[in-house]
C-alpha cells in the first residue's frame, strides 16, 4: 500500500497540476487585474506588483487594490447588469429551443436500426470539421436581406419585401441553436440509447398508451442526459461572443460582446476583468448544481 502511494499520487497530481497552472493561476491574474485601476501605462493598469522593489513596496501596492470596478459593473446606471440578464435570457431561450430541436433527433437516432446509428452519429459531428467562424459567417449569407432564405421565400411568393432577420435576436437564436446542437444531441443520445426498450413494452403491457409511456418512462429516465445537454449548451451560450457579434444587431446585448467592447474599445482591462470574474460566478452556480445532481446519480447506482 505504502509502496504504491507515490505512483498513485503522481497520477492524481497531473490533472491538478494542469488545472493549477492553466486555470487557477490565470484566474488569479485576471482577478488581480479586476482589483486594479486603469492607467495610461504598459500594462494599462496599476498597481503592478514588483517583487524586486522589496516588501514595503509590495505592501503599498497591495493596499491600492480595491473593489471599485465591481461597484462600477454592478451599478444600475451602467448597462452591465442588463447585459448579464439579457445573456442569461438569450442563453436560456436558446437552451430550451435546443432541447426542443435536439430531443426528437436524439430519440430518432437512439431508436434507429443499430447498423445506421454510427452513420447518424457521424452526421451530427460532421459540422465540426468546418471552422465554427466560417459556419457562422455562412448564416450571414443565408439570413441577410438579399440572402438565400429571402430569395427562396420570394421565389415561393410567400413575401413581398425581405424579412429582416439578420442583426436581430432571432438571428442570434438561430446561430446558437445551429452551432450548439451537437452538444445537446450527444448527451441525450447516449442516455436514450442506454435505455432498455422492454421498459416501454412493460408500460404498454400494463395499459399505458405510447404517448403517456413517453412522459412516464422515457422522459424521466432521460433527465440526466437532458440536464447534461442543457448545461453543455447554456454555460458557453451565456458567454457567447462570436454569434451575437456577427449575427446580432446593435441592440443585442450579450455579456461577451460587452466584455469585448470594454477591453478593446474602451481599453479598460480592469473593468473587463471584473466583468469576466462576475461572469464566472454566474456560471459556477449551475456547474455546482450539475455536479451535485451527478453525485446523487452516482450514489443511486
Amino acid at each position: 500500500m505504502a509502496a504504491k502511494a507515490p505512483g498513485r499520487w503522481m497520477v492524481v497530481a497531473v490533472p491538478y497540476l494542469w488545472l493549477l497552472v492553466l486555470f487557477l493561476v490565470p484566474f488569479l491574474i485576471v482577478f488581480k487585474i479586476s482589483l486594479s485601476q486603469d492607467a495610461i501605462a504598459q500594462p494599462p493598469y496599476e498597481p503592478v506588483f514588483d517583487l524586486a522593489a522589496g516588501w514595503d513596496a509590495f505592501k503599498e501596492a497591495f493596499s491600492q487594490l480595491s473593489f471599485d470596478n465591481y461597484a462600477y459593473v454592478l451599478s444600475w446606471d451602467n448597462e452591465f447588469i442588463e447585459a448579464y440578464g439579457s445573456s442569461l435570457w438569450i442563453a436560456g431561450i436558446s437552451t430550451l429551443l435546443l432541447l426542443i430541436v435536439g430531443y426528437p433527433i436524439a430519440y430518432g437516432m437512439a431508436r434507429a436500426p443499430k447498423s445506421v446509428r454510427p452513420t447518424l452519429l457521424m452526421l451530427v459531428i460532421l459540422p465540426f470539421w468546418t471552422s465554427f467562424l466560417i459556419r457562422v459567417y455562412a448564416w450571414i449569407g443565408i439570413l441577410s436581406p438579399e440572402g438565400l432564405l429571402n430569395q427562396l421565400l420570394f421565389a415561393l411568393g410567400l413575401i413581398d419585401e425581405p424579412l429582416q432577420i439578420l442583426a436581430t435576436d432571432t438571428a442570434v437564436y438561430i446561430g446558437i441553436v445551429y452551432s450548439y446542437l451537437p452538444f445537446m444531441i450527444l448527451p441525450l443520445y447516449s442516455t436514450l440509447e442506454k435505455m432498455d426498450e422492454t421498459l416501454l413494452e412493460a408500460a404498454a403491457d400494463l395499459g399505458c398508451p405510447p404517448i403517456a409511456a413517453f412522459w412516464k418512462i422515457t422522459w424521466p429516465l432521460s433527465l440526466p442526459g437532458v440536464l447534461a445537454g442543457c448545461l453543455l449548451c447554456f454555460i458557453p451560450a451565456v458567454g457567447e461572443f462570436v454569434i451575437p457579434d456577427l449575427l446580432g444587431g446593435s441592440d443585442t446585448m450579450m455579456i461577451g460582446k460587452v466584455l469585448w467592447t470594454e477591453f478593446s474599445v474602451n481599453r479598460s482591462w480592469t473593468v473587463s476583468s471584473a466583468v469576466a470574474v462576475l461572469l464566472l460566478l454566474v456560471l459556477v452556480v449551475p456547474i455546482v448544481f450539475y455536479q451535485n445532481v451527478q453525485a446523487k446519480e452516482m450514489e443511486g447506482r
Binding site: E201, A202, D205, G207, A212, G300, R301
Partner: protein
C-alpha cells in the same frame, strides 16, 4: 382393450397430479385459441401454422430450445408482435390488431423490466393507475400484492436496492396487480440461482392455484416446465411437437425429439417384427442381437424401422443374464461409471459400439460396488418401461 395403454395411462397420469384436465373434456371452451397462426420475420419463420388451445386456470408451459418460436408465440398474445397469418382469441375476443395496452394479459419479463426511477410501490401501482382506479382502491390493491409476495417492508425501495430474488417478486406482483385474464411469464426464473429457482417454482404453483388464474410460461428449462405446468407444449422450428401433461411428455414421448429434449434417454434402433394389441415385438442388431418387447400400441406395420427409447433410471445392470425375462436383454461391457452421490450412472458399451446409460440409486452406504469398470454385464428393462417411436 381397444382404448389402448396410451390413453389409459394418460388419464391416470393426468389425474394423479391434480383432478384438473379440461383438455380431455370436449365440451370445455378454451380461454386462449391460436388458430393456424404463422409469424415470419423476413425470410425466417418463427411460428409455423400453429394451432393451440389453452384453458382457463391452466398452468401451461411452452418448452423448447432458443429460437424455436416459443417467445414469439407468447409475445403475440401480449400484443408485441402481430401474427403474419391466423387468428388469436382470448375469451372469444379476436386479439389481432389490438395494441398491447388494451389487452387483458400481463407479462412478467425475463429482465423483469422494473421501472428504475420508481419505488417498488409505484412499480406495482403503475398498471392500476392506468385504469384510473380510485386512490384508496389502488393503495389497497398494492398492499395486497406486497403481502402476497412478502415484500411489505420494501415498498419504498428502488429496484436497484433489491436482490435478484426480490426484484423477481416485484415483477411478479406488478404483473399480477391488474388481475389479468392470463399471466405471461417469459423465462421468469432464469436469473435466479438453482436453489432459489426451485423454491420459486413451488411458490408460483401455489400462487396460481390460490389465485385461480391462467398462467402461460415460456422456458427452455425442462425441469422447470415439468415442475410447474399442467400441460407442456414442446416446440421445435415454430411447430408444436407434443402437447401433453408432464408425465405423458416424459413417459410417452411421441418422437425422438421430445424424448431427447425432456430428460435423459437411450435410443436404440430396431425393426418391428410383430404387432399385437398392447404389445410390439422388435429385433435389434445391437448388443449381440436381441428381441425387444414393448407393451404399447403403435401405428406401424411389421418390417418398419422404429426406435426404442428407454430412460436410464429404468435400465437394470446385472452381472448374470436376467433369468426372469427373455426380451429386452442386451450384452455389453461397463465403459464408465459416473458417481453422483445419490445415483451412479453406468455407461455400458453394447456389442456393436452403441453406448447405453443406466442410473442406479445408491440405496446403501456401501463403498465397493459389485459392478465395476470393464465388467461384462447385461442390461435389461421390463416391457412396460420402454417406448417405441416411429419418428
Amino acid at each position: 382393450m381397444s382404448t389402448g395403454v396410451t390413453e389409459k395411462t394418460q388419464t391416470t397420469i393426468g389425474g394423479i397430479r391434480r383432478k384438473f384436465a379440461p383438455w380431455t373434456d370436449p365440451a370445455a371452451v378454451p380461454l386462449i385459441r391460436y388458430e393456424n397462426v404463422s409469424k415470419r420475420f423476413g425470410e425466417f419463420t418463427a411460428v409455423d401454422n400453429l394451432s393451440l388451445d389453452i384453458y382457463e386456470r391452466e398452468f401451461f408451459a411452452l418448452l423448447g430450445p432458443s429460437g424455436c418460436g416459443k417467445t414469439t408465440l407468447m409475445r403475440m398474445l401480449a400484443g408485441f408482435e402481430d401474427p403474419t397469418e391466423g387468428r388469436i382469441t382470448l375469451a372469444g375476443q379476436d386479439l389481432v390488431g389490438m395494441p398491447p395496452y388494451k389487452r387483458q394479459t400481463n407479462m412478467m419479463f425475463q429482465s423483469y423490466a422494473l421501472f428504475p426511477h420508481m419505488s417498488v410501490w409505484d412499480n406495482i401501482a403503475f398498471g392500476l393507475k392506468q385504469d384510473k382506479m380510485e386512490k384508496g382502491a389502488i393503495a389497497a390493491r398494492v398492499d395486497e400484492m406486497l403481502k402476497l409476495v412478502k415484500l411489505e417492508k420494501f415498498a419504498k425501495r428502488k429496484p436497484h436496492q433489491l436482490s435478484g430474488g426480490q426484484r423477481q417478486r416485484v415483477a411478479l406482483a406488478r404483473s399480477l396487480a391488474k388481475a389479468p385474464k392470463v399471466l405471461l411469464l417469459d423465462e421468469p426464473l432464469g436469473a435466479l440461482d438453482k436453489k432459489l429457482r426451485e423454491e420459486t417454482q413451488f411458490e408460483l404453483m401455489d400462487l396460481q392455484m390460490k389465485l385461480g388464474m391462467t398462467f402461460l410460461i415460456v422456458t427452455h428449462d425442462q425441469e422447470e416446465a415439468m415442475t410447474v405446468a399442467d400441460r407442456i407444449a414442446v416446440m421445435n422450428h415454430g411447430k408444436l411437437v407434443q402437447v401433453a401433461p408432464p408425465a405423458v411428455i416424459y413417459e410417452q414421448p411421441n418422437s425422438r425429439y421430445v424424448a431427447d429434449f425432456v430428460g435423459d434417454v437411450n435410443i436404440i434402433e430396431a425393426k418391428i417384427e410383430a404387432i399385437e394389441p398392447g404389445n410390439v415385438s422388435l429385433y435389434t442388431a445391437v448388443g449381440g442381437g436381441a428381441k425387444l418387447s414393448i407393451a404399447q400400441n403403435v401405428e406401424a406395420k411389421p418390417g418398419d424401422a422404429a426406435f426404442v427409447a428407454i430412460r436410464p433410471e429404468k435400465v437394470r445392470v446385472d452381472l448374470e443374464p436376467p433369468a426372469w425375462q427373455e426380451a429386452n436383454c442386451l450384452r455389453g461391457e461397463v465403459w464408465d461409471i459416473g458417481y453422483l452421490g445419490d445415483l451412479s450412472i453406468y455407461h455400458v458399451e453394447l456389442e456393436g459400439g452403441v453406448r447405453i446409460k443406466a442410473a442406479k440409486p445408491n440405496l446403501t452406504r456401501m463403498v465397493e460396488r459389485p459392478i465395476t469398470w470393464e465388467d461384462k454385464v447385461w442390461v435389461s428393462w421390463t416391457p412396460d418401461s420402454g417406448v417405441v417411436l416411429t419418428s
